[in-house]
């Protein structure tokens, strides 16, 4: 850590990990509800558990992105943060608002929550991933603006590197496209159309800028490869990501009442979306192979390489599997979608946040790297979580293929619930893979408490 204000990243990272644990607890509960339908009913119905699961994911990733920005922007711009106090204040506001929202989901009837929080003034709730009450949405905008103000002011007074510019572009894009969450027309087709301007343009657009910038930052640090080289490739990769991803939005416009031409535009451009992910993998391995130093933090290198590979598999390959309109006609809204969603979010965004945490956390705790023993535990957690996620994805894919076959392709299609019974074996296996994932997560948290002789921080 070169600048004292970087330390505001620490609470953000801790909160991120804490909420991650919460997300997985609810994930396990839902995994069980898939096979034991009345588990926790009526206290926590599936729709509440799912809302908590997905909203916690989004919130902890946002905590991760913000923490990453607070950590890397001062170092990149070579100046102290504009206002560490504002950053800490926003941390508490965001944490309390987030926690209040989750508690609201759990302890207040959703309809009552909607009435209490002004949903009748401006109805924005009840749409997938955007279930947050109006007040929370406004809170997110305020926190995001204060955060962007803080980061932008820091950048204005310091060095403007490519990594910091790309990171900032991504974060600004994130805030701007979130504004579409306030647009909820009565026309369902329009509602769905612009809903994707938040969801797709986040995860297959501006978030990729954030991810690439974070990865590039860690790669510069752990490999010692010339900044010039890494930044040029950063530009090329994000160009490819947006060139394919922007029109790739069309792969969500196949069957929601939009004109038929989206089937062609969406299929063609989203078929190219794996290319930037592949480029990112090649780039990460290339930089590590050309490394000019042996960084003591081996775990961070592992997370970084894992990000490349798993993002390519989850977002690239599993996305491509069902992105072509003739295939998607059968797979749309099936367990195949769920399989892709799990591995893509894990591979691209969970791993990139864990990468920066793995790199920055020891430095924030005053050491160059954790002890050998702590790193071994951390790497174990990587393999446990990653391998179990691969299995979760494979089991869901198998469930999805069977579901599509029985319910949609067959000459004598079966009703939904009957099909669900047929594929419950795969749901059980998914649940067990999820348990292993949770074990991996516990291992991960434990790695922070493993004692041992850590590498001392040598200030250059």
């Amino acid at each position: 850590m070169k600048y004292t204000s970087q330390s505001v990243a620490l609470p953000y990272f801790i909160a991120a990990i804490g909420l991650f644990v919460g997300q997985i607890v609810f994930g396990l509960a839902m995994g069980l509800q898939y096979v034991v339908g009345d588990f926790l009913f009526p206290e926590i119905p599936f729709n509440v558990a799912r809302m908590v699961h997905t909203n916690l994911l989004i919130v902890w990733l946002l905590f991760g992105f913000m923490g990453a920005a607070y950590y890397l922007i001062p170092e990149e711009t070579e100046t102290e943060l504009y206002s560490p106090k504002l950053a800490l204040l926003m941390f508490w506001i965001f944490l309390i608002a987030g926690a209040a929202t989750i508690l609201g989901y759990l302890f207040v009837d959703y309809n009552t929550l909607a009435e209490m929080t002004g949903n009748n003034i401006l109805a924005t709730m009840g749409r997938e991933f955007l279930e947050q009450p109006l007040l929370t949405k406004i809170g997110i905008v305020i926190v995001a603006l204060a955060f962007l103000f803080n980061i932008s002011m820091t950048m204005l007074k310091g060095r403007k590197t490519v990594i910091s510019i790309v990171m900032l572009l991504g974060l600004w894009g994130l805030a701007i496209f979130f504004l579409f969450s306030f647009y909820n027309p009565g026309n369902l087709v329009k509602d769905k159309f612009y809903w994707w301007w938040v969801v797709h343009l986040w995860v297959e657009g501006v978030w990729e800028l954030i991810m690439a910038a974070m990865l590039a930052f860690v790669l510069i640090k752990v490999t010692g490869v010339d900044r010039e080289v890494i930044e040029k490739w950063l530009y090329v990769i994000i160009t490819l990501a947006l060139v394919t991803g922007l029109i790739g939005t069309g792969h969500h416009y196949f069957w929601i009442g939009t004109p038929g031409y989206w089937q062609w535009w969406g299929s063609i451009f989203s078929a190219l979306e794996p290319i930037p992910f592949f480029a990112m993998t090649v780039f990460a391995f290339n930089m590590v192979n050309r490394r000019r130093r042996e960084h003591p933090n081996k775990a961070a290198v592992l997370w970084a390489l894992g990000t490349g590979v798993m993002a390519f598999l989850g977002a690239g390959v599993w996305g491509f599997l069902h992105t072509l309109a003739p295939v998607n006609f059968y797979t749309h809204g099936s367990q195949i979608t769920a399989a892709h969603g799990h591995m893509a979010f894990y591979g691209a965004y969970v791993l990139v946040v864990l990468t920066i945490i793995s790199y920055a956390m020891p430095l924030l705790r005053g050491r160059a790297a954790n002890s050998q023993r702590a790193q071994v535990v951390e790497m174990w957690s990587f393999w446990l979580m990653t391998i179990s996620m691969v299995f979760i994805t494979l089991f869901l894919t198998a469930a999805g293929i069977l579901q599509v076959w029985l319910q949609r392709v067959s000459d004598t299609p079966m009703p939904f619930m009957q099909v669900q019974d047929q594929i419950s074996l795969f749901y059980w296996m998914r649940l067990w893979a999820g348990v292993v994932f949770a074990v991996g997560l516990v291992t991960y948290v434990a790695s922070f408490f493993v004692k041992g002789e850590s590498k001392p921080l040598i200030t250059p």
């Binding site: 160009t239 004109p259 031409y261 062609w264 299929s267 063609i268 451009f269 190219l272 290319i275």
Partner: protein, 194 residues
Amino acid sequence: MARNSGPETTARRLPGDLAIWFFILAELLAFGVFFVVYAFTRANHVELFNAEQLTLDRTSGAINTVLLLTSSFFVVRAVQVAEAGFSRRAAPWLAAAFACGAGFVVVKIFEYAEKIGAGISLSSSTFYMFYLSLTFFHFMHVILGLVIIAAMWNGARTGRYGPGNMNGIETGAAYWHMVDLVWLILFPLIYVMR
């Protein structure tokens, strides 16, 4: 930046910036997939495609081909002149290239106006969907290319280019030739071949 500093004049060298070549490859891939998808979709609707293809104006398509080819030629001349060390003399060539490209845009707008006037849209039929999508996608590339040529013209006029500084002009030229290249397939595929 060891640019052309070696004594060997025969060394193989990629003209323009590597970054534009990645972009060109991505574009060629997108166009290529689009073309092949068109062709295979046509195979399932031969009558429809053959009938509606006749409503296209082949002559303006051919004129546009000539305009793009001529424009490309002018850009080559501009690059040659700049390479010989006469940056300012490259400017008129680039202006001529721009004029040809603008001519393409005008012809295309007339073509679109005629089709839109006839009530044809992206949703009219599979053929018109492809015709409008492919030509409009290409059309936007021409517009972007014109912006780039204008920037190159400005650079040439201020004497920026020369044997020691060819990166900008070669990069823009490579992009413009790519716009030409895809049209060379697009024209016979959509306007002529039945």
